[in-house]
């Protein structure tokens, strides 16, 4: 247990009234490479800045080696930061940039020179001491930023998307170099990125965040092989995410077809999300499974092929559902193929949005008027008395995406996941979350107008099916 270096407990953070972090808990082990991964706006940089001391939480506590450092200013914390765009001091040369922290710690001139020389050797910049920072390339500036931080011998190095500004090849090289530096220096790295591949390559542990909440914590293998929900599966690597229904332990149904799996402990007939990685699907020209039962055979047609270098990305359409398959075999368009997935490659996850329908509190306004989500609607002859506690059920495909001026309500698009034949969109509104199924694809993190199909809503007394 004494292995914990930093711990964040119940951290809340607001910015201009927007909740950025909501009751965040996490811990960081000694000498580990921990990555905070998530799309922009998920709160990962905020978390890093809280640990760095550049901002302070509204509530919650941050411990560093067991001491409460929540209110400690950055210059008193035993950690250093590599900033997103390096933030080198433009008026100082490379040597003075690296020596900045040491000079403040009142080391002797000789000691400073020794330490800086040693550090420049590690980051491969010996001989550049007198260069101005503007004369350095992006990769070199990046290494100066790392050297400037590491030379102070911090217990933790915080890195805020340090490779974001580099081109792909350099980024790959730096990834390996960073990992080596981390191992050699024996320093804890907390690394922020939105690049899932980077996270998988470098990390000991990954924390996946979305909307200020942690979705999953685990090793790269864990989060890739056992994603906790559709968001994680969608964010890390490529995946087929389908709606399924758990029939029994180890048996799930997707659109009328049965699949064997290895998951147990779900309720019978529970709607679930099913994830299959594209490389885990086998395409065969004739079924090889023992089961001849028709329900287990998935037959489809190749409708799209993209060459990706190492593999082909093939889209197979089976009864209106599209499966993405990665294979090295060269199939042809319109080939008829069977899809086979071995049970251990099918991952069952609980749905992020509970239930199949949107259940919303509903109120009687008048003899022919009801209201829900703060809007009133005509609903003649509803036959409820004003004392009744009502709810309204709207199926996800009975809500339409429209322009904001024609909308009933406006929602913030939190999540969009392709489910083989349609997009599952989850919207946040101040009256609760709403799930919509649509063919339309919208930009994540934007506000979008929604319209209810009033002919297809079911109003009922609460708790009555």
């Amino acid at each position: 247990m004494n292995n914990i270096l930093v711990e964040l407990k119940h951290i809340n953070f607001d910015y201009d009234g927007d909740v950025i972090l909501d009751g965040l808990n996490l811990f960081v082990n000694k000498n580990e490479f921990l990555t905070l991964l998530g799309p922009s706006g998920c709160g990962k940089t905020t978390t890093l800045r809280l640990i760095g001391g550049f901002i302070f939480p509204k509530s919650g506590v941050i411990y560093f080696e067991g001491n409460n450092i929540t209110k400690l200013p950055p210059h008193k914390r035993n950690l250093n930061t590599v900033f997103q765009r390096y933030a080198l001091f433009p008026h100082l040369n490379l040597f003075d940039n690296v020596a900045f922290g040491l000079k403040l710690k009142k080391f002797s001139k000789d000691e400073i020179k020794k330490k800086v020389d040693k550090m420049l050797k590690i980051v491969n910049l010996t001989g550049y001491e007198n260069r101005k920072t503007e004369e350095l390339s992006g990769g070199q500036q990046q290494r100066v930023a790392i050297a400037r931080a590491l030379v102070n011998n911090p217990k933790i190095l915080l890195l805020d998307e340090p490779l974001g500004a580099l081109d792909l090849k350099l980024r790959k090289e730096m990834q390996i170099e960073l990992k080596n530096i981390q191992k050699e220096a024996g320093v804890t790295f907390i690394y922020v990125t939105h690049d899932q591949e980077e996270a998988l390559t470098m990390s000991d542990r990954i924390i996946i965040m979305k909307d200020g909440e942690i979705q999953q914590i685990g090793t790269p293998e864990d989060v890739y092989n056992e994603p906790k929900n559709a968001f994680v599966a969608d964010f890390i690597g490529e995946s087929n995410i389908m709606d399924g229904i758990m029939l029994l332990d180890r048996l799930v149904e997707i659109k009328g077809k049965k699949f064997k799996c290895v998951d147990i402990g779900f309720n019978k007939h529970l709607p679930v999300d099913v994830v299959v990685r594209p490389e885990d699907i086998n395409l065969v020209f004739s079924p090889t499974f023992d089961d001849i039962d028709n329900e287990y055979i998935i037959f489809g047609k190749v409708i799209n092929i993209i060459f990706k270098g190492v593999h082909y990305e093939i889209t197979v359409s089976c009864d209106g559902i599209e499966w993405i398959v990665h294979t090295t075999i060269n199939y042809k368009l319109n080939d008829s193929v069977y899809i086979e997935i071995s049970p251990e490659n099918i991952h069952i996850m609980e749905k992020m949005f509970k239930g199949e329908s949107n259940i919303i509190d509903c109120f009687i306004e008048d003899i022919d008027t009801i209201s829900f989500m703060g809007k009133t609607f005509k609903k003649p002859n509803h036959n409820f008395s004003s004392d009744d506690k009502l709810e309204v059920s709207i199926l996800p495909n009975n809500i339409y995406i429209v322009s904001e001026d024609h909308s009933d309500i406006v929602g913030f698009l939190e999540s969009l996941i392709y489910k083989g034949s349609y997009n599952e969109l989850i919207f946040y509104t101040d009256k609760g979350k709403i799930m919509v199924h649509s063919q339309q694809e919208e930009q994540l993190g934007t506000y979008i107008g929604l319209k209810f199909d009033l002919d297809n809503i079911i109003v009922s007394k609460k708790g009555v099916k």
Binding site: F54, H75, A87, L104, A149, N152
Partner: protein, 272 residues
């Protein structure tokens, strides 16, 4: 070729309104009433060396005060939200829309022995202060009139200092004092030099402010020059010689100020 053609009007402007007048000032400084060469005006200007030093002294003091006031304002401004920046900048520039004469008159009325400020001080029981017609009033007038010229260049250079650079310094163990000395001051050097120039030069040659707020007893070098042209002691030769004298002094001081800012390749056009 085309760019040369385009610059022609400006070259004309330069020659007619800057080069020729400056040249005339130099000529006038070295001739007497009969157009013969003479150095007597230059030598006579030396009689006013005391007043010149006083002018420089006043200008240095007001430049210093402007800097001390402007630096924190510019910094806070550069770190504020965009709309606050815009509003505050507007407020800082707003007085400049009014005529300098008018602004100085306003100060005269405010500072009078029975002016609003003294009435107020009297009212709250602090007693009157006698500030009008003293050097303090002159300095006050200079600081008030030229402060925006210090704030604006400082602000413009400080907006270019990224927040992360200050955070990086904090991160490496710098407290606020160290950040000020090792990050903010060196990085705003070009703005400081520009600000000093823009406040010092008009301050050292001012005549309106000193005459209106300083009374008759606190004339500055600018006042003496003015007298040579429109006073009873009309003597444009003497006035030209004194102007030349002042110009050279300003050039020397500007040259020294520029030396402070060693790294000036990117802003050579700004001064000199």
């Amino acid at each position: 070729m085309k760019s040369k053609l385009l610059s022609l009007p400006y070259i004309f402007w330069l020659i007619i309104f800057i080069l020729i007048p400056t040249f005339l000032v130099v000529i006038f400084a070295f001739i007497d009433e009969n157009y013969n060469f003479t150095t007597k005006w230059i030598i006579e200007s030396g009689n006013y060396i005391g007043i010149l030093f006083k002018s420089i002294y006043f200008a240095i003091i007001s430049t210093l005060i402007c800097f001390i006031i402007a630096f924190p304002i510019a910094f806070i401004l550069s770190r504020s939200k965009k709309y606050i920046q815009k509003t505050l900048l507007m407020l800082i520039i707003l007085p400049m829309w009014m005529n300098l004469l008018l602004r100085t008159y306003a100060w005269m009325t405010l500072l009078e022995n029975n002016g609003i400020i003294n009435q107020f001080l009297n009212f709250i029981g602090l007693g009157k202060i006698n500030i009008i017609n003293t050097p303090y009033a002159i300095i006050l007038g200079m600081v008030y009139n030229y402060l925006p010229f210090m704030i604006l260049p400082l602000y413009s250079v400080m907006t270019k200092i990224e927040k992360s650079i200050i955070e990086a310094a904090q991160d490496l163990g710098a407290n606020y004092f160290v950040i000020l000395c090792k990050i903010l001051l060196p990085l705003s050097l070009s703005g400081i030099v520009a600000g000093i120039t823009m406040v010092f030069v008009p301050s050292v040659s001012t005549f309106i402010i000193s005459r209106m707020l300083g009374g008759g007893g606190n004339l500055l070098f600018g006042d003496i020059i003015e007298q040579q042209f429109i006073g009873s002691t009309y003597n444009p030769y003497m006035g030209s010689a004194m102007s030349l004298f002042l110009m050279i002094i300003i050039l020397i001081i500007m040259w020294i100020t520029n030396m402070i800012d060693k790294n000036k390749e990117d802003r050579q056009g700004m001064l000199l």
